[in-house]
Symmetry: C2
Subunit: 120 residues, 2 copies
């Protein structure tokens, strides 16, 4: 399955990649992958937080007349999250350690987006 | 003044840079700079939207136990926004065209942050 393949590859091929999830904006996960050696992470709960945030960000973008939201990057002390909006229903999020290879992670999500979109 | 200097340089030295603002989380602007040739942009209103968003993002980061939020990048059809959190009170946002030099913009905000922090 393409969904399983993309989340796994995004994590494995990004230096510092920890987990990835494809989720609907209502918080239902379509596919997810968590690196085995990183211990416990409630990936579904993280995805739901992202889904809520994306709703807020979309509202803000509308007020700003900024057009459709395409990508959100979020850096915190513990994580770097790359979130790419696939269509109005789905997004893919790659969660990395803060010193991850941001460029590679963004690239992987961007080049895989068209193939994911075909199946959504 | 360092604030005026930093917002101006961030815009002028980033290819695709349009505007920059240093703002308190309550939506009061400390310093702003808008490239003269880009026409009308309600930079203060944009900043207020960012301030609101950062409040939501901070709440989400707390639920995720992700630590302090450091940076947010937001790509829409019309803009690329780089937002760096300076301290719990202030942030700096650089607004660019979507095809801007993201790496340069991030770099400029990051290296200027310590000097801004000294004055805040």
């Amino acid at each position: 399955m393409i969904f399983e393949d993309v989340v796994k590859k995004a994590v494995e091929e990004t230096s510092g990649g920890l987990a990835a999830i494809i989720m609907a904006k209502d918080g239902i996960s379509l596919s997810q992958y968590l690196r085995e050696d990183i211990g416990a992470m409630d990936l579904e709960a993280l995805g739901i937080e992202f889904a809520n945030l994306l709703t807020e960000i979309k509202k803000a973008a509308e007020s700003m007349e900024a057009g459709e939201v395409k990508e959100v990057l979020l850096t915190t002390e513990k994580y770097l999250a790359i979130i790419r909006i696939l269509n109005p229903e789905y997004f893919i999020a790659l969660i990395c350690s803060p010193n991850a290879n941001l460029g590679k992670g963004r690239f992987l999500l961007r080049v895989k987006a068209p193939a994911l979109l075909k199946e959504l």
